[in-house]
């Protein structure tokens, strides 16, 4: 009887091999930039060569004016609207992207790339370092949201697109949206930052630190070098995921779903087994996450989010990030999201108002917490559809 939070998922060796294969030769499209085209990172290092794994949906029109870049959140990837090669599940945003859906692939050309630092084919700590022939692990440089966006910009260059019709994303994806709008304003016709913030809050940094410490406390992490020891810090990463998962939900949603219900038993067992349904659910979330995600990637990406602060780089005045912008913004928050509360979206809106930017702002009534942006919320979907349609008219897209 195990008191460990893990439930056996995919067999460890098979899982590890599958993950390493996807990290280095992904099932999706991939842009490989040679040694001669390095990326200068915020930490001032040069990173090369670089791979950017991506998926596209729909058709790019003749004047390349209908491209939408979808930016993914912490643990998602380029498979926004196509089947995930490891979990075999539908794309993480397949409810909103597709023919006739709010992000309508009959009208728009949709691009989603795995972020720099990710583990599904873009260069990250699980990628093979050509200098050593083994995964970078902790030799990978610490990256920022700005670095991720600069890597995406290389992909957009490669696709021959000058200006994106829209950049859209939630949570960390929303941070990338804001970074795009602030650093490449002329390349962003419209922007939809969802359930996000212009700077990571102290509370969010704190939660991330708990997750990282859980990973690093696992002896199987091996100081970051678990690949060469043939190990995976399953317990540490799954605890990190369990803690994080709670922050993605709301108290009401948890209570409605689980209450104090017991898991396949009629009374408590006076043990540390998963007596409660909510425990069993979290253990499952932790375990399935480990099957598909690289532990070091989790450390690097959470760090990038912690470092994100658009105002700090601009004299502590957020409005400076958007001065002179011509981008049309639609800021979206959810009432029960306590990880990125409406207050933080409102700060973005205030900064945009201060430069008289074209901005819409809606707060969607939902009790599903931060995760609401991944779920089918009719009012949210109608907002995205309406905003994109109106922006499309301004952009001169054919209906």
């Amino acid at each position: 009887m195990s008191t460990h939070p893990t439930v056996t998922g995919i067999d460890t060796d098979t899982g590890r091999n599958l993950r390493l294969a996807e990290a280095n030769s992904p099932s999706s499209k991939v842009l490989r930039l040679p040694e001669s085209e390095p990326l200068r990172l915020a930490c001032d290092q040069l990173l090369a060569p670089i791979s950017i794994a991506y998926e596209t949906y729909g058709e790019l029109n003749a004047d390349k004016s209908n491209a939408i870049l979808v930016c993914h959140a912490l643990t998602a990837d380029q498979y926004a609207a196509s089947q995930h090669p490891v979990t075999k599940k539908p794309g993480w945003w397949s409810t909103i992207i597709g023919p006739g859906k709010p992000v309508d692939t009959n009208r728009y050309f949709v691009i989603c790339s795995n972020i720099l630092g990710g583990c599904m084919g873009s260069t990250g700590p699980a990628s093979i370092d050509p200098k050593t022939g083994s995964p970078y692990a902790l030799n990978f440089p610490v990256i920022t949201i700005g670095d991720m966006v600069n890597a995406q910009a290389r992909l957009i260059d490669h696709l021959g697109i000058d200006q994106l019709f829209c950049v859209i994303g939630g949570s960390m994806g929303g941070m990338q949206v804001l970074e795009w709008a602030a650093s490449h304003p002329e390349r962003v016709f419209s922007a939809v930052p969802i359930a996000t913030a212009a700077g990571h809050s102290s509370q969010n940094i704190a939660f991330h630190e708990v997750g990282r410490q859980a990973v690093m406390a696992d002896p199987d992490w091996c100081g970051g070098d678990y690949h060469s020891h043939g190990k995976v810090p399953r317990n540490g990463l799954s605890v990190a995921r369990m803690a994080a998962h709670i922050t993605y939900l709301s108290e009401d949603a948890l209570h409605r779903k689980f209450g104090r219900n017991l898991q396949e038993r009629s009374k408590v067992t006076f043990s540390f087994n998963a007596d409660f349904q909510v425990e069993s659910y979290l253990r499952h979330q932790g375990s399935t996450f480990v099957d598909r995600f690289d532990a070091n990637s989790y450390l690097y990406i959470t760090r990038a989010m912690d470092y994100f602060d658009l105002a700090n780089e601009r004299g502590d005045i957020l409005a400076n990030a958007f001065r002179g912008t011509k981008t049309r913004f639609c800021v979206v928050s959810f009432t029960s999201d306590w990880l990125y509360p409406t207050r933080e979206s409102r700060e973005i809106v205030h900064a945009l108002n201060a430069v008289a930017a074209n901005v819409s702002f809606v707060e969607i009534d939902s009790d599903k917490g931060h995760d609401a942006f991944l779920l089918e919320e009719p009012e949210f979907f109608a907002t995205v559809r309406g905003f994109l349609s109106a922006a499309g008219v301004k952009r001169g897209l054919k209906v």
Partner: protein, 211 residues
């Protein structure tokens, strides 16, 4: 729920049509208290205006954005301070000023944000309201102002003359003052504020800050 991008079909609100007459084509417009976005849509359709809205009710904001209008959830009393000077050609407040907590501050902000401000409001100086108060001794309830005093959102009702005084106090030139009745008919009185104040059920003022 409104369908995205459905044009607002008439009949248009009387004060909206009068406001639209005052707006130059192709202007940048901020509509404070924009409601369901009917005025913004009218200005976009007939004046090719680049419009933005601020609205207190979340449901109405969301309905506006779904229809493709640029609207944020906000409060005239709290959120106007964010906007820079002269950010818009017109800052508009239609039938809302009487419901704000600080009408003077709101009007100051409108005059600062817009090169011109357009304000419409119900006229408490109309003869029927005067007569109501005189003969019943109770707060008037009319078709225009149907709420009881205790349920009314209108904490700062004023007359046309009161509003004109406030404009003067804030150093604003009245470029146009139009009084109209409930059916939206513009009164043929142009030069007598007293007569407008007596006979107009509502009014629209076009103001400009004196420099």
């Amino acid at each position: 729920m409104l369908k995205p991008n459905t044009p607002v079909s008439g009949p248009h609100r009387a004060d909206h049509l009068l406001i639209a007459e005052m707006v130059e084509p192709g202007s940048r417009v901020l509509d404070v208290g924009c409601g369901d976005g009917a005025l913004l849509q009218l200005l976009a359709d007939t004046k090719n205006a680049d419009g933005r809205g601020v609205e207190l009710s979340r449901e109405r904001v969301n309905a506006c954005v779904m229809r493709g209008l640029s609207v944020i959830q906000g409060d005239a009393d709290r959120d106007l301070a964010d906007y820079p000077d002269r950010a818009f050609d017109y800052a508009i407040l239609s039938l809302t000023i009487q419901a704000t907590r600080h009408p003077k501050t709101v009007l100051e902000n409108l005059l600062r944000i817009g090169r011109r401000a357009i304000v419409s409001f119900p006229n408490f100086g109309h003869w029927r309201i005067r007569a109501d108060l005189l003969f019943t001794g109770r707060m008037p309830q009319t078709a225009n102002l149907p709420d009881t005093w205790y349920a009314s959102p209108n904490g700062h009702l004023c007359t046309i003359k009161d509003f004109d005084d406030l404009a003067a106090l804030l150093n604003a030139d009245v470029e146009e003052a139009v009084a109209f009745n409930s059916s939206g008919k513009r009164l043929p009185i142009r030069h007598s504020l007293s007569l407008q104040n007596l006979l107009g059920e509502k009014a629209v003022f076009l103001l400009r800050q004196r420099t």
